[in-house]
């Protein structure tokens, strides 16, 4: 493999994971904060709020996972190799 491509792929993989975790990180923080606020305001709705929160956290998490998949593609199945 061309060493330039290899180096670029490694850097791109790192950037893919790193950048892809920024947005979901903020989003998950927001969601968790709002959920806590909701529970504090309405403690009897805790079960419902927690279920919805976990499901939406999983959705946000999957955005990071897409970035991870791209990184894995670059590292293990590089199309430019």
């Amino acid at each position: 493999m061309n060493p330039t491509v290899a180096a670029a792929s490694v850097i791109a993989a790192a950037l893919a994971v790193g950048l892809a975790s920024i947005g979901p990180g903020i989003g998950q923080g927001n969601a968790a904060g709002q959920a806590v606020e909701g529970i504090a305001r309405q403690p009897e709705a805790e079960g419902k709020i927690r279920g919805t929160l976990i499901l939406s956290l999983a959705f946000m998490e999957s955005l990071t996972i897409y970035g991870l998949v791209v990184a894995l593609i670059l590292l293990f199945a590089n199309p430019f190799a």
Partner: protein, 252 residues
């Protein structure tokens, strides 16, 4: 891949090997398949069938033991389907959604809990079946087929009217959605499970004792949530296809 060999030098523990993208190839006629995926999926399927048979062999009005457990699972799945598809239409879809949930759940947990790596294969290694992109894409495509089938059976060719809602301008996006749905479904599951296994593998390589345990527990949690997410999303898509803009039609 080389990564594994290099890392094996660092750590001589047999559990700590890290393999990505290696497969045990079987030949079926002139078809090539991944043996390790089928081995573990057969294990999971066998487990499911045994549990099903054990639960229904001697059904009682007052459940106990395995029957109680499986009834709990069934009721959970029914509630999930009922919540997403609706009271009226959910019954025929319970087997499909339930099988998705149970298969993914058991696959993920078998990958996280069972020390598959102690069994040596000539090439590749045993892991959760959902660790292979083929499995997750197969599940996602089945989900796509299921919601197409649900839409057609309920509304016939009128199902395509859905693509023009709310305005015809959104037609390309609506069509694109049909491709992104299976893509995101399969990649979400695949990425989560693979990432989980990789994180645990890397941690075990660096610190073989105790430290990886919290990550493993987190992995168990994520695995269960991913099974739930997959099943929920499949139910949501099917419910969307069935309901569509049904209340629209009732107004006329």
């Amino acid at each position: 891949m080389h990564m594994l060999d290099g890392l094996n030098i660092i750590n001589s523990l047999p559990l700590a090997a890290l393999e990505v993208g290696r497969h045990l190839y079987w030949r079926l006629g002139n078809l090539q398949i991944h043996g390790q995926v089928f081995l573990t999926s057969w294990f999971v399927i066998g487990l499911l069938l045994i549990a099903a048979i054990a639960a229904t062999r001697n059904v009682q009005r007052i459940p106990r033991g395995i029957q109680n457990l499986m009834e709990y699972a069934l009721e959970y799945i029914r509630n999930l389907a009922k919540d997403q598809i609706g009271e009226r239409e959910y019954r025929p879809w319970v087997p499909f959604i339930g099988t998705l949930f149970l298969f993914i759940f058991l696959s993920n947990w078998s990958g996280a809990l069972l020390p598959w790596k102690l069994i040596h294969l000539p090439s590749g290694e045993l892991a959760a079946p959902t660790n292979d992109i083929n499995t997750t894409v197969a599940l996602a495509l089945l989900t796509s087929l299921a919601y197409f089938y649900a839409g057609f059976r309920k509304r016939g060719l009128g199902y395509f009217a859905k693509y023009l809602e709310p305005t015809p301008i959104l037609l390309p996006i609506n069509i694109l959605e049909d491709f992104t749905k299976p893509l995101s479904l399969s990649f979400r599951l695949f990425g989560n499970i693979l990432a989980d296994e990789l994180v645990v593998g890397v941690l075990v390589l660096l610190v073989p004792f105790i430290v990886p345990i919290p990550v493993m527990l987190l992995g168990l949690f994520t695995s269960a949530i991913q099974a739930l997410v997959f099943a929920t999303l499949a139910a949501v898509y099917i419910g969307e296809a069935i309901e569509g803009h049904g209340e629209h039609e009732e107004e006329h």
